[in-house]
């Protein structure tokens, strides 16, 4: 039998039972649509989370005081954690591959300007903060490169703070009070929006030394270290540890590369995507059972036709292939419909809920189609075998 004849014969027998074919294909379509839709949401979530983190750059390492331990410290244990100081941050600039290091401390403070006041998140940072986190200044400049231990009293406003305190006026050069001290505004940041629940625009930035005094703290909260993008991460990490251990005498700090966090997130999110794909896969299996049922009925109904095909010269293998072909075609039709259905649903979902990140990973779509085909073939094997093993004479008599 020629390939084109095979396809058209198979297609004709499916067409002869339109409703039945449509319903059976629908079973597969629903399964594929579920896989596509669920993986689209999973992948969208993945991309969303990764994007939230990578907007600050990926070649950044966070150094925090205290060592993360796997078991809790017992009561009364002597606290041997030394604070991370501004000097530590400056010392880290000498570590290999390090481009920038920037000390950070964070707190809340009230900012006041001409009778208006607002409680905002206050960051004490070094002059490289904006560069380290790839944040941009909308007007003016970021904090100047003063010695962080004795910097001038300058402040940079987040876009929302600037709007709330100054309305349409240009805040550059104005004086405001932050935490009771007087600061001169030297810059306004570009709007950044919310990142994982934090409003990055409702913030002000002042030199880190002044912030430590304002909050009466000894230790920084964090040091951001930016390294050369092409540098080997393990060596960068080792260099940072060497510098700090030399200064502290012990490893009483934690080094967390952004890249490692991304890897962990990536692994977790991939697992979620895979899990939801597997849930969709269950409905695909149900669709496969539908094909099995319909084909079994089809073989019983068409016994006499099978007898005739055998009489006019079809081999057992020929009969087997015809029914497998029908199963595969059903699955592929259903799979294609499901692809469109799932993709359409994902798009519709994205239109209705723009906040919900949706992205259709084409590798999963292709994989789902292949799985549909495999399910169809697997479901077709039993009925097709039954058809092929019919005795032609008895099959002819079945009418």
């Amino acid at each position: 039998m020629r390939y084109a004849d095979f396809v058209s014969f198979t297609y004709a027998s499916l067409r002869a039972q339109r409703l039945r074919t449509a319903l059976t294909a629908l079973g597969i379509a629903v399964g594929i649509a579920a896989v596509i839709l669920l993986t689209s949401i999973g992948e969208g979530l993945h991309r969303f989370v990764i994007a939230e983190f990578t907007q600050f750059g990926t070649n950044i390492i966070s150094v925090t005081p205290g060592r993360v331990q796997t078991h809790g410290a017992s009561l009364g244990a002597v606290n041997t954690v030394r604070p991370l100081s501004i000097d530590d941050a400056l010392a880290l600039r000498r570590a290999p591959y390090v481009q920038l290091s920037d000390p950070v401390v964070q707190g809340n403070a009230e900012v006041v300007h001409s009778g208006k006041s607002r409680r905002v998140t206050l960051y004490g940072v070094g002059p490289d903060f904006a560069r380290a986190l790839k944040m941009r200044v909308a007007s003016g400049e970021f904090l100047p490169p003063d010695d962080p231990r004795s910097a001038r009293a300058f402040v940079v406003l987040g876009s929302k703070v600037a709007r709330e305190l100054f309305g349409g006026d240009n805040p550059l050069g104005s004086r405001i009070r932050a935490g009771g001290e007087r600061y001169r505004v030297v810059g306004v940041m570009q709007a950044k929006g919310q990142v994982l629940g934090f409003d990055l625009d409702d913030t002000v930035y002042i030199p880190v030394g002044r912030a430590l005094e304002m909050f009466n703290r000894e230790s920084l909260q964090e040091i951001h270290v930016v390294y050369e993008p092409t540098a080997p991460l393990a060596e960068v990490e080792a260099g940072i540890k060497r510098v700090l251990i030399a200064r502290h005498g012990a490893e009483d700090f934690t080094v967390t590369p952004q890249q490692k966090m991304l890897d962990v997130f990536g692994t977790v999110l991939d697992a979620i995507t895979f899990a939801v794909a597997a849930i969709g896969g269950i409905s695909l299996v149900v669709g496969g059972v539908g094909i099995l049922t319909i084909l079994t009925i089809g073989v019983a109904e068409r016994t006499s036709e099978i007898g005739l095909l055998r009489a006019v010269g079809s081999t057992r293998r020929g009969i087997l292939l015809l029914f497998l072909g029908e199963a595969a075609l059903l699955a592929v039709l259903g799979g294609t419909a499901g692809l469109l259905l799932g993709w359409g649903a994902a798009l519709a979902l994205h239109l209705v809920l723009p906040a919900l990140p949706v992205h259709t990973p084409w590798s999963y779509a292709v994989l789902a189609e292949l799985v549909a085909l495999a399910v169809g073939l697997a479901a077709g094997v039993l009925p097709a075998r039954r058809a092929a093993l019919l005795d032609p004479l008895e099959a002819l008599r079945s009418e």
Binding site: M1, R2, D5, F9, A12, S13, R15, A16, S304, E305, G307, L308, L309, R310, A311, V312, G313, S314, T315, R316, R317, G318, P392, L393, L396, E399
Partner: protein
């Protein structure tokens, strides 16, 4: 052309052996018009099925076109059926979802014959069996006589060695039966070999060689 020697066929029915055919010897030459008659259970259909390679004998040898086909594999039998045997059934056995012309084309499709060649043969067959006007009708839109003409055209599509007709008029009224019979006779006139199994003595009388069967044996073989 067809030579059966010592063909026996037994069935097991309820644990008992039933001899449908016992030691049948038969030779059919090219261009014969032969009828097989006999009461129900005399073995005439079993004989036809063995000639048609749909059934295998328990003993004896069957030569078709000087080739021993007794011991062929299932696939080889299918191929021989495709090339050399044309079946005409009492109940037509047309595929209901296919049109008349597609039904006639079916053996050629299964044999993988080139579409251009198929079109040529189909045009000839439709003309020969006066089916041009009904070519694109499905079996449920055809009369019984037309259905059987489609079935005969299908049987002739591969240019078979022999046409085997099992009660070809059994499902038709008298007039239509005569018409179908004359179609089969035309096949014979054009040089084809036709074997008809029938109950109807009138049909038997029209053939040129008449076999009578009884209890699995050929009891008479008249010519003329």
């Amino acid at each position: 052309m067809i030579r059966l020697t010592g063909i026996a066929r037994t069935f097991l029915v309820g644990g008992e052996e039933v001899h449908a055919l016992c030691a049948v010897n038969l030779a059919i030459t090219r261009g014969e018009y032969l009828s097989i008659m006999g009461p129900s259970g005399s073995g005439k259909s079993t004989l036809l099925n063995i000639i048609g390679l749909l059934d295998r004998p328990n003993a004896g040898t069957y030569e078709l076109d000087q080739r021993d086909v007794t011991a062929l594999t299932d696939d080889e039998l299918a191929r021989v059926r495709r090339e050399k045997i044309g079946f005409v059934f009492q109940f037509f056995h047309l595929v209901p979802r296919l049109t008349a012309v597609q039904n006639i084309e079916l053996p050629m499709v299964l044999a993988g014959i080139d579409p251009a060649e198929r079109r040529q043969r189909l045009a000839r067959l439709l003309g020969e069996y006066s089916l041009e006007e009904r070519a694109n009708h499905r079996p449920d839109q055809l009369s019984g006589g037309q259905c059987q003409r489609v079935a005969i055209a299908r049987a002739m599509a591969m240019g078979p060695t022999v046409i085997l007709a099992d009660e070809p008029t059994g499902n038709l009224d008298r007039h239509t039966g005569q018409e179908v019979l004359s179609v089969l006779e035309r096949v014979h006139h054009n040089g084809g070999t036709v074997v008809i199994v029938t109950h109807d003595p009138e049909i038997g009388a029209r053939s040129h060689r008449r076999l009578r069967m009884l209890d699995g044996a050929i009891v008479s073989d008249e010519k003329g």
